[in-house]
């Protein structure tokens, strides 16, 4: 039934596939997102190892593929083929199911993340509430994994992690509420919990919420940015898996594929919380200055960015090819890197062609593609900044101690976020 399949590409239909009840496209979106997030996690794996290595005056993976580009694939293969050990005294069923809980929680969140005004699986009326709720389910996987391992280090890691995530959720939730409060600063005085509507509210009010009521929006954003690091168990709040204290915390007893599922869940959760931050405070899919520079010419200029970015990456890769040692030992690596550069260049070319083809007509398929690419590009770019920050934190800071973590969560972040919430409400009432 081509009608059923094509219905979503019809430019007259607005809304997300889930919202429009279009189950076929919703399923396609779910698959795209699953594949996309998995790929992003793999890229993130490579990027983290390389970036961390360069922070630390070393090279990182260099052997598997040119500049270690194939390293994540090799890692994934290794982890899949590795023996999956379940300790004899462990609770078999719970041990088996724990990583899946974390993974499910991390991936379910993506159903409401808006990569664009209609580039989301579903636009739920309670989007942000759903997101916070489901991402808080991830802690169950960790707690249960620590318990099921039937070993002391994982148990301590699990207890730490549950206390940590529960207490940082409070500050996180309050910061989110102050952003939601800002959505109601319009003529009708009605706010929204829908992720798409939150971005639209920023567009209507002409300001990203990070700059709204400066510095209130910024403080709320900072609270969220700190809490989300704690929420995802990353350095400097990685107490649940503190290597030097608890060997590996809650996943000490895990190995092979099951362990890699934990890692997948962790990185997926990182991307998910970064997406929340981007949606709530950094304008989601919007390009910079959508209201100030709204002429079609500006639209065209900004739509060139995706192509130019990939072009730049291709150029950097090509410089890498040229600079690579000419020894015959590196011949295959050189060819591989050149092919990679060519692929990137091709991608850049395709993106540029789409941008140019879709520049004028608003209803053509090319224009819709151009728009969609634009939205996803800006969204992903903003998320990528957060991903880089995660790596940067890890390279820079020592780890907090458990009591200090709790102190910061309850005695610093909670009062500040409460204060920001009240001030936002007061300022909003005064200004409206």
């Amino acid at each position: 039934m081509p009608n059923f399949i094509m219905s979503y590409l019809d430019p007259k239909v607005a809304g997300t596939p889930g919202g429009a009840g279009n189950q076929f496209w919703a399923l396609i979106y779910v698959l795209i997102i699953f594949a996309g997030v998995s790929t992003a996690v793999i890229c993130m794996n490579w990027l983290e190892r390389k970036a961390l290595a360069h922070f630390q005056v070393r090279l990182g993976p260099m052997r598997v593929g040119p500049h270690g580009l194939l390293q994540p694939i090799a890692d994934a293969l290794k982890l899949m083929l590795k023996e999956d050990i379940i300790p004899a005294e462990a609770d078999q069923f719970v041990f088996w199911v724990a990583p899946l809980i974390g993974l499910l929680a991390a991936f379910t969140v993506y159903t409401v993340i808006p990569f664009g005004p209609s580039q989301a699986v579903s636009d739920m009326n309670i989007g942000i509430l759903f997101m916070l709720g489901v991402s808080s389910l991830g802690v169950l996987g960790i707690v249960v994994a620590g318990w099921a391992s039937n070993s002391h280090y994982p148990l301590i890691g699990a207890l730490r992690s549950s206390a940590q995530m529960v207490s940082y959720e409070v500050a996180m939730g309050l910061a989110v509420v102050s952003a939601i409060l800002m959505t109601s600063m319009n003529a009708s005085g009605t706010g929204t919990l829908s992720m798409i509507e939150i971005v639209r509210a920023q567009q209507q009010q002409g300001v990203w919420f990070i700059f709204k009521f400066f510095p209130l929006g910024f403080i709320a954003f900072a609270i969220f940015a700190i809490a989300m690091v704690a929420e995802t168990n990353r350095a400097p709040f990685d107490l649940a898996e503190a290597e030097s204290e608890l060997t590996a915390g809650f996943h000490t007893e895990y190995s092979g594929l099951r362990w890699s599922l934990f890692m997948l869940a962790e990185y997926a959760a990182m991307i998910a919380v970064s997406s929340i931050a981007v949606t709530l405070w950094l304008g989601g899919w919007m390009r910079p200055f959508p209201n100030l520079l709204h002429a079609p010419a500006w639209d065209f200029i900004f739509s060139l960015f995706p192509g130019l970015t990939f072009g730049g990456l291709a150029a950097i890769t090509f410089i890498g090819v040229v600079r690579m040692s000419a020894q015959s030992f590196f011949k295959i690596q050189r060819i591989g890197l050149a092919v990679f550069a060519a692929l990137l260049g091709l991608l850049a070319l395709v993106l540029l062609v789409i941008a140019i083809a879709g520049r004028s007509a608003d209803t053509s398929v090319a224009a819709r593609f151009r728009e969609g690419i634009d939205y996803v590009y800006w969204f992903v770019l903003k998320v990528a900044v957060f991903m880089y920050l995660f790596i940067w934190y890890r390279a820079t800071w020592p780890r907090y101690r458990f009591d200090q973590l709790m102190k910061i969560g309850w005695k610093v972040m909670l009062p500040i976020s409460l204060g920001v919430l009240m001030l936002t409400a007061i300022v909003g009432v005064i200004l409206s």
Binding site: I156, R160, E243, S244, E245, A395, P398, R399
Partner: protein, 402 residues
């Protein structure tokens, strides 16, 4: 856990004052009432080590925990015991010299210096001035290398990954000098009884001076990473506090003692080698906490650079070997000689029966003695602090177990 005795190590109930435990808010780890804990459920007894990322080798610490709080610890050592002292009884004095390098393998040069000087004292010979200067240069370089290793691993234990790679990058330069001088990087066997075996290679002074100019900004680089880092401050300040009285009573030496405010450094107190010729300060701390120990060691690296600079500028010409007989046969007697190794007082007690082999050698390793302070330092703190304190004591298990 069998073999775990809680009362044996409780120094604080005895003559010593013990660290300030006011942060325990009323909860006393109950030796009087060992079954009562926070939740009144059973305590958690966990084995930290012998295979654990943060115990610096094969130290095994049995931790008695109440949740995260440490009620008591017991160190189980001996996993790296090689019987170095016993081996000495079956080796000649010269043959035993390389063995001492294997004790504190992070500061092998200091070990060799202590042993050679002890035997020289027993033989009643003295190394020539040039040899003494070379010894000082190499020993101080080795002190810097040892402190670098300590800094990297200590920071890694507390969760900062990056300093480890910075310090290893810079330690490499020192190891290169060692390699050029004597062919070995880690267990150098740099000195011989009576002086040095090797004359310095051409360009030794230049290399050392290059290193000094190279390294001065690097210390500042480490300090920018850590010294004013808020998390680092919170993790190290008031952690693992040991008072001067406790430290002295436990026999703690080295930077751990000096951080508690005791100005005791054998290089000044009883100068050996050529240390009396040089002008340097002894950094001391005030609180005796982990942060003070960190600062003391950082400052010690700077002072070592000062010493090296003075020594390399004033290195005299002359022979490098004293008048030592081919076969070393010390007179009957005994001798104790100690030097200031990077980790503290490294002493050698040698009993000679007049033969070519020592009758008995007893080593007083600084790590072994300092490790005793672990229990008193970590009681009432959290698990994460145990790791930090093990790091700050700066133990090397090769030296603890010998």
């Amino acid at each position: 856990m069998s073999g775990y005795k809680d009362d044996s190590t409780n120094v604080s109930n005895g003559a010593l004052s013990g660290p300030d435990r006011s942060h325990l808010d009323g909860f006393t780890p109950g030796l009087e009432n060992p079954d009562k804990t926070y939740l009144d459920s059973n305590e958690l007894i966990i084995n930290m080590g012998p295979q654990h990322p943060a115990t610096h080798g094969v130290l095994r610490v049995i931790l008695k925990l109440d949740g995260e709080k440490v009620l008591g610890t017991e160190c189980v050592i001996g996993y790296l015991h090689r019987g170095v002292e016993k081996i000495a009884e079956n080796r000649t004095y010269t043959m035993f010299n390389p063995y001492v390098d294997r004790m504190d393998y992070c500061a092998a040069v200091s070990n060799g210096l202590g042993y050679c000087e002890a035997v020289e004292k027993l033989l009643n010979v003295e190394a020539p001035a040039r040899a003494k200067y070379i010894r000082v240069i190499l020993t101080e370089l080795n002190r810097i290398a040892s402190h670098q290793l300590w800094l990297g691993t200590h920071a890694l234990d507390i969760g900062a990954m990056t300093p480890l790679f910075y310090t290893f990058r810079d330690r490499e330069e020192i190891l290169k000098i060692f390699e050029k001088y004597c062919g070995a990087r880690l267990t150098t066997h740099a000195f011989r009884i009576g002086g040095c075996q090797y004359e310095t290679y051409a360009g030794f002074e230049k290399d050392v001076k290059n290193f000094l100019t190279f390294f001065a900004p690097k210390i500042d680089e480490y300090e920018t990473l850590l010294t004013t880092n808020r998390i680092w401050l919170e993790r190290t300040r008031n952690v693992g506090v040991i008072s001067a009285a406790d430290a002295i009573a436990l026999g703690v030496t080295g930077p751990v003692l000096r951080a508690s405010g005791v100005k005791w450094d054998l290089r000044k107190a009883q100068p050996y080698a050529a240390y009396s010729d040089f002008d340097f300060e002894i950094p001391i701390g005030t609180n005796g906490d982990t942060y003070d120990r960190y600062l003391v060691r950082m400052e010690e690296m700077r002072q070592s650079m000062r010493i090296v600079e003075q020594a390399v500028n004033a290195i005299p010409e002359g022979p490098i070997m004293g008048k030592v007989p081919k076969v070393i046969k010390p007179p009957v007697g005994e001798i104790y000689h100690s030097i200031e190794a990077p980790k503290g007082e490294l002493g050698y007690f040698i009993v000679s029966d007049g033969s070519t082999q020592p009758y008995r050698i007893r080593v007083r390793p600084p790590s072994f003695v300092n490790l005793q302070a672990l229990d008193i330092m970590v009681r009432g703190l959290l698990v994460a602090d145990v790791v930090a304190v093990i790091g700050t004591i700066d133990i090397v298990l090769g030296e603890v177990d010998r």
